[in-house]
């Protein structure tokens, strides 16, 4: 039964990964102009282009090309960046790690902020705090991350000078932990805002539903009071939903991170993707898209597996 479920899920993930690879491969095909020019840049010589065509098998049928590309990609060979002339993998990996740092910080902020405000809103639904937070949630939910980033930079970096706006060049091996944290605050808040808004909204709804259930009434009739009621009686019943919510909005968080990196010149994969697109560095674009999509799929898979596990535990006991 469990084996069956895991196999089914694995098959689905395998198909999704195949689909992702097809789309990423397709990016190259849809790029306007000649593929070899796209990969090598307009300045490349004709002989270099012809050599690349030969290497990539561009004269072969498209299905063959796909498998050649897939084979190279699976071996970690994404080609060469036309901007930096480095291997694409060498460009992408360190920046990917920088992005993971930023996204993780943003996720932590979004979860802490989202869950606490969501619970507090639900605890006194319709009260002053609830109305204030609901209004803020609406505003932050409609706010483009790049603009929020600029507003934060103006106030907290330029006016109050609390935090640096940019200047993050090397995450690992650069400054000390304090320096990193200092550079991390504004970007992480920026990337977290929209996600936090979504989490507040959904956590509030989940809590309200649980707080309306009979066993909460029974607990109140037993003399249980606010804090214990929320944390001991309501929270365990909300946990699976909350986890699901966090999984569902990861897409927003990653999207927010991409913009944030551009605004704060954070040396991450979003900034790399942006520069690659402007520089028509197709191989780098492909690698960035593939890395982000892959991590998104794997994180979602992990969330699903944890949820399955929790659901099974509840049912068993």
């Amino acid at each position: 039964m469990i084996v069956h479920a895991i196999l089914g899920r694995t098959a689905r993930v395998a198909f999704v990964l195949f689909g992702v690879s097809v789309i990423v491969f397709g990016l190259l095909q849809f790029a306007p102009g000649d593929v070899a020019t796209a990969l090598l840049g307009p300045q490349a010589s004709d002989s270099a282009k012809e050599l690349l065509r030969e290497q990539l098998g561009l004269n072969k049928p498209i299905v063959t090309q796909y498998f050649l590309w897939l084979g190279n990609t699976l071996q970690g060979d994404f080609g060469v960046s036309i901007i930096s002339r480095n291997t694409v993998l060498g460009e992408v990996v360190p920046r990917f790690l920088n992005s993971v740092l930023l996204a993780s910080a943003a996720l932590v902020i979004a979860i802490i902020l989202g869950v606490t405000v969501g619970i507090a809103s639900a605890a006194r639904a319709g009260g002053f705090f609830d109305r204030t937070s609901s209004a803020s949630v609406q505003v932050f939910g409609a706010m483009p991350p790049f603009w929020l980033g600029l507003v934060l930079v103006y106030f907290f970096a330029l006016q109050f000078r609390w935090f640096p706006a940019t200047g993050m060049t090397k995450t690992f091996g650069g400054g000390d932990a304090w320096d990193i944290a200092n550079h991390l605050v504004l970007p992480a808040v920026t990337a977290a805002a929209a996600s936090a808004a979504v989490i507040v909204r959904m956590v509030r709804a989940v809590f309200l539903e649980v707080l309306g259930s009979d066993y909460i009434l029974v607990a109140r009739a037993r003399g249980v009071r606010s804090w214990r009621l929320l944390m001991h009686h309501a929270l365990p019943n909300c946990m699976p939903h909350v986890l699901n919510i966090i999984g569902l909005q990861l897409g927003y968080l990653i999207g927010g991170t991409l913009f944030t990196e551009v605004v704060f010149a954070w040396p991450g994969i979003g900034q790399l993707l942006y520069k690659a697109i402007l520089g028509r560095d197709v191989a780098v674009v492909q690698a960035c898209v593939l890395f982000i999509a892959l991590s998104f799929v794997l994180i979602n898979l992990a969330v699903d597996l944890i949820n399955d596990f929790l659901a099974r535990k509840m049912r068993q006991s």
Binding site: D214, I216, A221, R222, G223, H233, M314, S317
Partner: protein, 333 residues
């Protein structure tokens, strides 16, 4: 009877009013209800669904949620008014000196907490017991209410118990602090018939043992006959009749009570014709005039339709709110 009247009641409710603000207007779910219960007695509150029985007892412990609101009256418990005391004071009384058992055992237990956690919680909150001590006490309580091998099962979650077992667990939790007042809101309605009798016997037995007051809501007159000392009949948010149990069955004076009893007798005895009360229960919405039962009443006069009847004494401890007060023998001729 006189002696009983002089005993200080444990709970004295006067003119309790609870409204629900809904789209169509103000719903007078509890509309001026008064009653008191004396030590060691069992009071049954009887009425159709929607008559305000549940809202009455929920109002006492201030468990009414929006859009409902307790708007008036007093509920004096040992000299303190439950309706105006501080939240902290009330939380200290809830589950300790006043406990409640609810209708649906399937939804009343928290699925994410072990039954031991839930049975022992009152002891931890109100008796200051440590976790371990409270768990040991919970095992005893579970044994007392008839849960087999309680020591092993105390760490199980509610999902692995049947409906009847869960109601026993609820009872164990409610009685953990030996409350002076136990309120049971239709505790057997959601159970099958054989289980109903068992739970009822258990409640009776435990009530005798702790010698507390039991206020039980039911729409089942069979339950009333087997457990009640006093009976209070509610209709459309008001008390229409109140009397000791023998008198209610022997000489009911309100046409509504008479109708209820006739229905049950017909069910028990196939030779009698079945006389369900015609019409549907009145919804206590907006401004009201006259007796709420008048539209369904065979005895209704113009006075009934214009003037609201008030409770008046018709026996030593028997009150009824009816202008006509028909003789019981004249019922459904």
């Amino acid at each position: 009877m006189k002696d009983l009247a002089q005993v200080e009641p444990i709970l004295n409710v006067r003119d309790l009013r609870t409204h629900f603000e809904i789209k169509r207007g103000k719903l007078h779910a509890v509309d001026g209800v008064s009653f008191s219960v004396n030590p060691g007695r069992v009071l049954c509150i009887v009425g159709e669904s929607g008559s305000g029985k549940s809202v009455t007892v929920m109002s006492l412990l201030r468990l009414i949620r929006r859009p409902g609101k307790v708007t008036g009256g007093t509920a004096v418990f040992h000299g303190d008014d439950l309706l105006t005391m501080s939240r902290q004071q009330l939380a200290d009384i809830r589950g300790d000196r006043i406990s409640m058992i609810f209708q649906n055992p399937l939804t009343s237990l928290n699925p994410a907490l072990t039954i031991g956690d839930q049975v022992s919680e009152g002891l931890i909150l109100h008796r200051g017991m440590g976790r371990r001590e409270a768990q040991a006490e919970a095992v005893k309580l579970l044994r007392q209410v008839g849960i087999p091998s309680p020591k092993e099962r105390v760490t199980d979650y509610p999902a692995s118990f049947s409906g009847g077992m869960r109601q026993r667990i609820m009872i164990a939790a409610a009685l953990s602090c030996k409350p002076e007042l136990l309120i049971a809101d239709e505790p057997t309605t959601a159970l099958d018939v054989s289980m109903q009798a068992q739970i009822l016997d258990l409640l009776k037995e435990l009530q005798a043992e702790i010698n507390n007051v039991l206020v039980m809501i039911t729409h089942d007159l069979g339950v009333v006959a087997s457990i009640a000392d006093e009976v209070m009949v509610m209709y459309s948010g008001k008390v229409v009749e109140q009397a000791p149990v023998r008198e209610i069955f022997a000489a009911p004076r309100h046409p509504y009570t008479q109708g209820l009893i006739a229905t049950v007798r017909a069910l028990d005895d196939a030779s009698r014709p079945l006389h369900p009360i015609p019409g549907t229960p009145a919804i206590p919405l907006g401004q009201r005039m006259g007796c709420a039962f008048a539209p369904r009443c065979g005895f209704a006069t113009d006075q009934c339709r214009l003037e609201t009847p008030h409770l008046e004494l018709v026996g030593s401890a028997h009150t009824v709110a009816c202008h006509v007060k028909p003789d019981p023998d004249r019922t459904h001729v």
